[in-house]
Symmetry: C3
Subunit: 165 residues, 3 copies
């Protein structure tokens, strides 16, 4: 291969690695944003019209997502002690679109036991678009792993063999 071609190929490979690390960083930003009550940094992970579908609520647009963070329910959680943990993501990047499939947990301070309890454990499908300012979330679906088929179907989408035909 000519040197120019090798370098062009390296640029593509490095770009793909940068994409994957940028998506990991985005997921790693969500918890610190919401658990510190930082509504604008949390909402800013989404596009202007991005959606956070967190059964039974569907938050549409940054203002709705910011409103969740500043809302009394969320504020009460973080004043008592809360951690929104994101698991190691399964990543699929396709040009200017990407999907991450990752578990999330909401862990709460539990005064009764001087410890913490796992209140929520769910699966998330994060859909991203590449923007001039970097990757942003267009749609996040969160479903609890409570035995409902919908959560298992979200997980399956990450591992299903590509359809043929």
């Amino acid at each position: 291969m000519r040197l120019e071609e090798t370098v062009a190929q390296l640029q593509r490979r490095v770009g793909e690695l940068e994409d994957r690390l940028a998506l990991m960083q985005l997921l790693a930003t969500y918890g610190p944003a919401v658990d510190s009550g930082a509504a604008e940094p949390a909402a800013g992970l989404w596009t202007d019209d991005g959606v956070y579908d967190v059964d039974p609520e569907v938050l549409r647009g940054r203002a709705a997502i910011a409103g969740m963070v500043t809302g009394e329910g969320h504020q009460r959680l973080i004043r008592a002690g809360a951690a929104h943990l994101q698991g190691l993501p399964h990543l699929q990047v396709d040009g200017d679109r990407a999907v991450a499939t990752a578990y999330s947990q909401l862990v709460l301070r539990d005064e009764a036991t001087d410890g913490f309890r796992v209140w929520r454990t769910g699966v998330n499908r994060w859909e991203f678009t590449r923007t001039p300012g970097g990757w942003q979330v267009t749609h996040r679906t969160n479903r609890q792993l409570n035995g409902a088929a919908e959560a298992r179907e979200l997980l399956y989408q990450a591992v299903a063999p590509p359809s043929t035909g």
Copy 2:
């Protein structure tokens, strides 16, 4: 350094980064596969004759691993709500072989508390080989962190200074 040498060095460095991200992706695939009941994608993470040693069982080969996923015990767990979480892996890559050391947890829906409980927390040593189709697992050992020395020894292998002599 001549430009050709610099580019060759970059190719090696990029290859090493790609290896590490591919191994992370493999670990991030295990949970979505088993928690959605997708036996073939789960078993396909291993080589044909790969081993999953999950005390007290030792599953040998893909059929045995797929059989664990389709088995009644596992199916009952995921129908009630289960998350097989994998921690941030410690990675050691050496040519066409690699090892990941990572915690794992099995978190179950707990109707009694309207929450979740951590049923299992273990340490895993994943051994990989590079195949034409990418990295695959040759051997995974999982040991519970229940105070037994064996779990601590698996962890120690990741951090022990290289032996001299």
Copy 3:
């Protein structure tokens, strides 16, 4: 762009990716070191005079950090079954300095329930310096997410917009 410039730019980009993966690896080494009781590998993650501020204790220097690992309190935890889990880190690299913001959990074997319980869930700010031997920790602050403002402030530092002026 001339080929030489493109290659020089690739070297910088690859160096940044290597930094981020090295910092992830460092965080992924902490748990295996302390949970196997490996005092030297644990303390060696810090610089000679590195600090681990883990409220209410402030451990100053490698000997103090090693002493925590070999101390009776820690040894009792790991003999009963303990996992020091680190979450997906939010990373900020700036030349030869870096910061990781990540959740941590201490999960303990719980004989009473034949399971595990989450005893501690905190937020960590890890500060690093680049040394000839790789990245090392200069300061780690760990604060429990028990509702105190200090933990939320550590999280906020990761997501706060850069100050202007």
